[in-house]
Amino acid sequence: MIEFRGVTKTYPNGTTALKDVNLTIEDGEFVFIVGSSGAGKSTFLKLIIREEVANAGKILVNGYDFSTLKRRDIPYMRRTMGIVFQDFRLIPKMSVFDNVAFAMRVTGAPPRQIRKRVSKVLALVGLSHKARCMPGELSGGEQQRVGLARAMVNNPKMIVADEPTGNIDPERSFEMVKLLSEINRRGTTVLMVTHEMSLVERFDRRVIQIDEGSVISDTGVKEPHEDE
């Protein structure tokens, strides 16, 4: 769950990226965050993962109150979410399997559990047969699915996808969002930041639009349709 109450973020250079933002995203929702570049989407994301700290207001994420969150607890808070990056951020010298396993290893999971879980998430994104490939041997869409598998491997409550379709072709983009929908259907909250309105329109989901640091529209919670 994400809750923003009167959140304002001003950077040291004087730019106000977010102004008095109020919103609530419940567990299990699928939400598109849309807006043009520079609207404040990135700042919104950075606040959620506690990369940046708000100047004013209250932020609650997955049960962590950021006003009282200690520095040493940030890693544990981040384990409740999985992040998918626009540029995939796969480690080029590691195989697909190792890239996904890496995210689990660094949280200290035992090797046997890692093998089991990685195989499972690779199957979920349809890449079991590419486990031994290097990222460079995959298409953009496939690389992003590896990124998604990595985000999911620690079984987070919430997936935060930052322009996940920004670097892949439209057909694969559609599949990517369908995959995110499928993950959402299994109970994970999905937050997808994007500026591709045409893609958003193909899915009848809650859309929060940010412009010049403020929420300018919010369609509210929508139940998914069967035809998605």
């Binding site: 990369e51 890693p75 544990y76 981040r78 384990r79 890496f102 660094v106 949280t107 200290g108 620690n154």
Partner: protein, 304 residues
């Protein structure tokens, strides 16, 4: 820290040491010179301490008579000896004996003394042993007052020279080693910094999936400690070899002066070198990683 992670962290440490071997070699080199210098200084100090201790335990005063002494002079001196209560025994070394001894010591070069043509450059001398070592200086003073005596050689003079050498070595090496340790720390932390920058993608992913700073620091710490371990092992080996050469050389110069055998101090040197090396490696590495994690480099987004 779970044991399953430990294997992973150690492998990562070795891997990054190998990827980064040129800088690692530079770090090892500086740390090695630092340890060698430290080891040499400590060994010099230990040997001087031993020599001074040995000298101080000796109860011998060498007394040299004025040249051209007659039998009458000798009688006067011996009479004076007999009146002193702290003298255990005296051994007369005539100038002829002294010449003979010196000739033998020089071996083939002993012919040199033939050029004196009967003119013996050595004085008559006594080797005086004192009863009570505590009153050594007092007795030496008493001997000096005998008018037929030209010179009294006290052990304290030699001991003083050696002690001042020891103090100089200690002070100079203290500062030089201190400086070198700083240089070593600087180079190690730079080596690790390069490793971190090479792996900043991995670090940012670690941050994004919730790895703790401790976990992120560990492979770099291990890399630093490996640098220290290698430097410690190498410097002990080199010091052992060089010390052996020095001991042989000194033994050839004089059969009486022997150095403390390296095997007596070898384990201690090894442990200290490895300990200091690994501590320096860990500290240098720690400084570097903490600095990186505190700045934007340690973030998820503001990285690449």
């Amino acid at each position: 820290m779970k044991t399953s992670s430990l294997g992973y962290l150690i492998r990562e440490g070795f891997r990054s040491l190998w990827t980064n071997r040129n800088m690692a070699l530079a770090s090892i080199g500086v740390l090695l010179s630092c340890l060698m210098l430290l080891g040499s200084a400590v060994l010099v100090v230990l040997n001087i301490n031993q020599a001074v201790g040995w000298m101080e335990s000796q109860n011998i005063v060498m007394v040299y008579l004025k040249s051209g002494t007659t039998q009458a002079d000798i009688d006067v001196v011996e009479e004076a000896f007999s009146r002193m209560d702290n003298i255990a025994e005296t051994k007369f070394i005539s100038k002829e004996e002294a010449l003979e001894t010196q000739k033998k010591a020089l071996g083939e070069d002993g012919d040199l003394f033939d050029s004196y043509q009967g003119e013996n450059p050595f004085p008559d001398a006594y080797q005086v042993s004192v009863k009570d070592v505590e009153r050594y200086t007092e007795t030496a003073e008493e001997l000096r007052r005998i008018s037929q005596i030209e010179k009294v050689t006290e052990r304290t003079e030699e001991a003083q020279t050696m002690l001042s050498v020891r103090n100089t070595v200690s002070v100079v090496s203290f500062w030089v080693i201190g400086l070198l340790i700083l240089v070593a720390l600087f180079i190690i932390s730079n080596t690790i910094k390069i490793t971190i920058y090479e792996r900043r993608l991995e670090v940012s992913i670690m941050k994004s999936v919730g790895a703790t700073n401790g976990f992120i620091t560990m492979p770099f710490l291990i890399e630093g400690m490996l640098i220290g371990l290698i430097a410690g092992l190498l410097s002990t080996g080199i010091l052992w070899y060089v010390y052996g050469l020095a001991a042989d050389g000194i033994f050839k110069m004089s059969a009486f002066a022997t150095l403390i055998p390296f095997s007596n101090v070898g384990w201690l040197v090894l442990l200290c070198f490895i300990g200091i090396g690994m501590a320096a490696g860990a500290l240098g590495s720690f400084i570097s990683v903490q600095r990186y994690l505190r700045t934007n480099g340690g973030g998820v987004y503001n990285v690449l």
